[in-house]
């Protein structure tokens, strides 16, 4: 192997140039202490926080009761709001106090049981209870009201059955449709998996833009780029090694995140072929790095690179479907999503890691990503060539 490295293919001047330039990029990156600390944190600590902290489930939502009936039935209903979804937070005396606790953010919901609740229930009259929900966070608000409706509905069904003299546990003899769900790919509906992968992909995207752009603009600031321009290096030989070096580093970071954090700490299954996953990640980094290089041809210094990275990253994330399914977007945005490489990467990454699918199903995503990559990289090279040609 060593023989081949020294005397074989890589001694051809063109390849030798690519090799020394790639080595140079790696050396420079490893010596940038601040960047390395940021990099390592992002691929470990940040992903750990995302996987363990962020949840889109309703957990322990504080609920207070405004009980105007003080009956067995009203206490029974209130007592059904229990963990894991809800957390009883005492009772309130009147409507004003209820509103104040909601305003304070002290409770998330207030269950309002009217007077004569039990009496009317026993008489077979229709009776309403009110659930006031704080929906500032629309997802959680929606979950709280629908779980609340389910709990109330179930109680109502039981109350009706009891009145008809049927045993509460015996079920109802009448016609009834029961929805029976099978949860695939993430049977425990473990948020850590989704959030962990999503964060990993975000971090990969961030560094794919930032690292090559920073490396490029640093050469501009120091004036070394002019030195490179007078050497017999082509634009490709100057730009491509940056992408190769950064791809290698980001793949290493992803491996650390998968095998050091998501695997051992969150039992992420990694069902598909990891080779395929890393190959697709490499392709994705290449595609996105082209965007970074393009940004570097515009930026004059590192601060501008930072700003441009945010400007590129935010819409990429929004359009990718990482936060919202693409189907839920307005049509014109859906169109844009097709040119966000992250969209394809998400498909592929979830597909491989959680569903265990292979290239046979993902080939279209891979092809689209590769196509985008070539176009963006070519555009970056063109701009670079015009700037310094």
């Amino acid at each position: 192997m060593k023989q081949m490295m020294n005397g074989g293919l890589l001694s051809v001047p063109g390849l030798r140039r690519l090799r020394v330039m790639t080595q140079k990029e790696l050396l420079q990156l490893f010596r940038d202490l601040a960047l390395m600390v940021f990099f390592l944190y992002s691929f470990t600590g940040d992903i750990y926080l995302a996987a363990s902290g962020v949840s889109m489930q309703l957990k322990n939502a504080a609920i207070a009761t405004l009980d105007a009936d003080y009956s067995f039935a009203s206490r029974e209903l209130a007592s059904r709001f229990q963990p894991p979804y809800f957390q009883p937070a005492g009772s309130v005396a009147d409507a004003r106090q209820a509103i104040r606790r909601l305003d304070d953010g002290d409770v998330m919901a207030v269950l309002d049981v009217p007077p004569r609740f039990q009496e009317r229930l026993q008489r077979g009259e229709q009776v309403s209870v009110q659930l006031q929900v704080d929906t500032s966070n629309s997802v959680l608000g929606f979950l709280a009201s629908s779980y609340g409706a389910q709990i109330v509905g179930k109680y109502a069904l039981e109350a009706a059955a009891q009145r008809e003299g049927l045993a509460a546990s015996g079920g109802i003899a009448g016609p009834l449709v029961e929805a029976d769900t099978r949860v695939w790919y993430n049977p425990n509906q473990n948020d850590a998996w989704f959030m962990g992968i999503s964060e990993l992909l975000t971090v990969v995207t961030l560094f794919s833009i930032l690292l090559p752009a920073a490396a490029m603009v640093r050469e501009k600031e120091r004036g070394t780029i002019e030195q490179l321009m007078v050497t017999p290096l082509t634009s490709f030989q100057i730009l491509f090694p940056k992408v190769v070096a950064m791809t290698l580093v980001i793949l290493a970071g992803s491996a650390i995140a998968l095998f050091g954090v998501l695997g051992p700490l969150f039992q992420l299954p990694m069902r598909g072929s990891l080779v395929t996953f890393f190959l697709i990640t490499a392709l994705y980094v290449f595609t996105t790095a082209g965007l970074g290089l393009l940004a570097a041809t515009v930026a004059r210094n590192l601060a501008q690179v930072g700003m441009l990275t945010v400007v590129i990253l935010m819409p990429m994330l929004l359009l990718s479907g990482a936060w919202t399914p693409i189907e839920a977007m307005p049509p014109w945005m859906r169109g844009l999503a097709w040119i966000s490489p992250l969209h394809y990467f998400l498909d592929a990454a979830y597909g491989i890691l959680l569903k265990g699918v292979g290239l046979d199903l993902l080939w279209d995503s891979v092809l689209a990503m590769g196509g985008l990559g070539v176009v963006v990289f070519a555009a970056g090279m063109r701009r670079f060539g015009r700037q310094f040609g």
Partner: protein
Amino acid sequence: MSAPAIRVEGFIKRYGKRVAADGLALTVQRGEIYGLVGADGAGKSSLMKAVAGVLAHDGGTVEIFGAVIDSERSAEQVKQRIGFLPQGLGLNLYPDLSIEENVDFFGRLRGVPSSELAARKDMLLGMTRLDAFRARPMRQLSGGMKQKLGLVCTLIHEPELVILDEPTTGVDPVSRRDFWAILGKLLEEKGITALVSTAYLDEADRFHRVSLFHEGKVMGEGTPAELIARVPGTLALFRAEPQADALPRLKAQFPQTEAMGAWLRVFAEGLDATQAQAAVDTCLTTSASASTAIQVTEWFAREPELEDVFVAMLRQRGARLDTSLPADAPTAAPTSTLAIEATGLTRVFGDFRAADAVNFAVPQGEIFGLLGANGAGKTTVIKMLTGILKPSSGSGRVAGADMRSAGLAIKERIGYMSQAFSLYHDLSVVENIRLYAGIYGLDDRRARQRGDWVIGMAGLAGFENDAAGRLPMGLRQRLALGCALVHEPRVLFLDEPTSGVDPIGRRMFWDILFHLSRREGVAILVTTHYMSEAEHCDHLALMFAGRVVADASPETMKQELIASAGQLLELRVDRPVPAQNALRDAGFANVALHGRAVHLLSHDADTDRERLPALLDKAGIAVQSVGLRPLSMEDVFVQRITALEDAGRRSP
């Protein structure tokens, strides 16, 4: 009874582990122009900032007008009496404000009453010839104008002490002379004191007294004449053929030997003129075989300059000048092959002609100097010739190929070193060399050989694994040169390669360039704004506003100046400013103040030497001495440009 303007003792300043100033001491009397002379990083700026009260120091005492500066509050108390111009062209000014708005801002900031402000503004803007441009935004000014505006803003509150940090760095020689003239006049009229730093050793004679700075220490203090007298010796300028053989032989005996174009320049320490000539003759004629005796053809001996003395002082402290270049390498055969050829080379940015029909030719083996102020177009020309920038019209041929259509192969014959010493600061010395070896496609064996050569040539042994960014400037510069030479190019482009390097480093650098041109036949194109360095070149092209306005050898340029404007006379007088005015009134056009001496150009030097003392005596000025001084390239430059500017004003 009055305390000195500035008294500094045992001044220490550290930045982290690096000691910037190590026990500095100096005293500046009121009414003096006091100079701090030294290379970048010698500690000048740290001292000036501490004196200006904007930087805390780590040890020693700083007294201003007798008041000790040891706290924020004590500094505030003297600030009203101080004016400080920080380093960097116009860095303290606001680019979007006009000249007038900048002056007004600084005036109000300093609480100058508006009635006085108007009068002072008129006076200062008039003196600096900026009044015609009052409404022009600062960012559109030339370097020289920015610096003059900076001076005006520093002086607007009539401080008793002005502190000017490298006010002339990067400013063209004409503006530089203006600057000194204005400063001298103001100091004389207002009786204020000035502390001024400079990286140009040849500016030292502008000061009444100077401190020579080197690596955080003061190497010597006194009047320029006193400092020069501290290392007695003779400066000899002569021709001896073959020059390339004479140089190493002389260097063995006189370490301070330099090649200046076709001339040799030797500082014979401790010898008078006669002894020096005898010693040089003996050195060149005594040899193992009589056939290799070298004859001195032309000979001039004179008093050494401050730089010679400075280098001698550094040598006494153990600094070494030798590089490990082989002294016995064969001399390259002279050739007339053109290495670089610019024909009508033009580059237009918008409606600005950065380079305007530039023509010149450089044969193989020549050191060609491109001179000019910042913005004159030097860098644009180099960029076009190296293929970084496409010319708008005209062509540049390098190593026989047109750069516009040159393939990558031609780039393998070119070496380039930019002003910024384009090294990777985070890579070590060896890593930098290996990188460039790889980029130029050298195989492993040759990369190792050339790497060893670079380390030997640049004197980098022992620094192989140090990060390039941590090297001292001189070493960093030679490493950058080494990286540009790793592939043995036939043509070498150097864009202001000596900015910020100390005199020892500059000398070693020029030794290497001489070796490359004479022994290896490399064509070298170098740009510089150090006029004293221009004399190292075989041939010069002077650029002004994008055009080449003179193209000749340094010697020819000086002869032409003598023919057109006369010889340089130096008068030492007791009262320089009135003397300057009296001489101007007597009809001399080129009178300039140099510390306590006055310089002027005279068409008839012999007659003027006789009659000037009497003329000044009538004005009540005592002349201590009158003498001929050799013309410098700066004199040539200033004369040429002033003539062009005058012509430009007459026909706008």
